[in-house]
Amino acid sequence: MCLPALPGTVVFGAVFGTVAAQKGLTILETVLINSFVFAGASQFVAMEVYKDPVTWAVLLAMVGVTAAVNMRMLLIGASLRPWLGQVPASRTYPSLFFLTDLNWLIALREYDKGERDWGIYLGSGLFMWVTWSVSVVPGYFLGSLVSDPQKWGLDIVMPAFFVALLVPLWQGRRQTISWGLAGVVAVLTWQAFGGYWGILTGAIIGAFAGAYLDD
């Protein structure tokens, strides 16, 4: 079930290992940041602002970009409420550490098919975490082997997976209008500010449109 995401995750993790090695992190530092933070895109952006020695300014910059890139998780987590809300908080809050775009998408797909066992969400999250944690090690030592993931089309795996999951979510006019508005706002925001702000603004506009459009 998680298999379509596997090659992309392994390569993405390995490339992070390579970047970390180039920035002068030790292997233990690389494994720590990779397994603790467990949020691919934000780790890459944080490594862009990393400088040795670490000053307060470097720390604040790294935490700031991490928060900005991961802000979409606020909305992704919110969308899980109707499902995980029935599970005791002592279980859901630890499990939210393993929330990523990918296991959210996998869980969402199964939820739409009628699955109500939240183990799908947790299991796929743990699977992603183990894969991500292991894949960084070969990348750290054998960086040059995956220097050109684009050539193999590996950069398209994530967006193509997103597109594939979007298709069954479409049901009619409500989706067409709310997704259209989300897309326009996301692209305008992205062109004005760059980065990941467009995910936030587009998603919020799309959710409002969906909430106020009556079928």
Binding site: A46, V63, L74, A160, L169, R174
Partner: protein, 106 residues
């Protein structure tokens, strides 16, 4: 050499902990807030619209950044998905298509 390889800079460890806390706050924060708000039918509809809106807002900038080849291959993924209804077939079709386009163009 091994010692150097396995050492951890204290300041760097502080950065890792702060980044972990920031990320967890995002992961759990939205979920927490939604537990404090009564879920009216309107809010439920908004939450149901959220996943699609997040996906669209994520992939559109990627598609525009990637240029025509990426856009065509993502459209192909959507077409394959609509026909075959299997994610992995759609993903592999897009991967093979983009790898072929790139090997011919540069």
């Amino acid at each position: 050499m091994t010692e150097a390889l396995f050492s951890v800079d204290a300041a760097f460890f502080a950065v890792v902990l702060a980044m972990t806390a920031a990320t967890y706050a995002m992961r759990a924060g939205g979920y927490w807030v939604m537990g404090r708000i009564p879920i009216t039918p309107r809010i439920r509809r908004g939450l149901e619209s959220l996943p699609g809106a997040i996906i669209v807002s994520t992939i559109l900038p990627i598609a525009l950044k990637g240029g025509v080849s990426v856009m065509v291959c993502l459209a192909l993924a959507a077409a394959v998905m609509a026909a075959a209804r299997k994610e992995f077939i759609a993903v592999f079709a897009a991967m093979i298509a983009v790898a072929m386009v790139r090997s011919y163009s540069f």
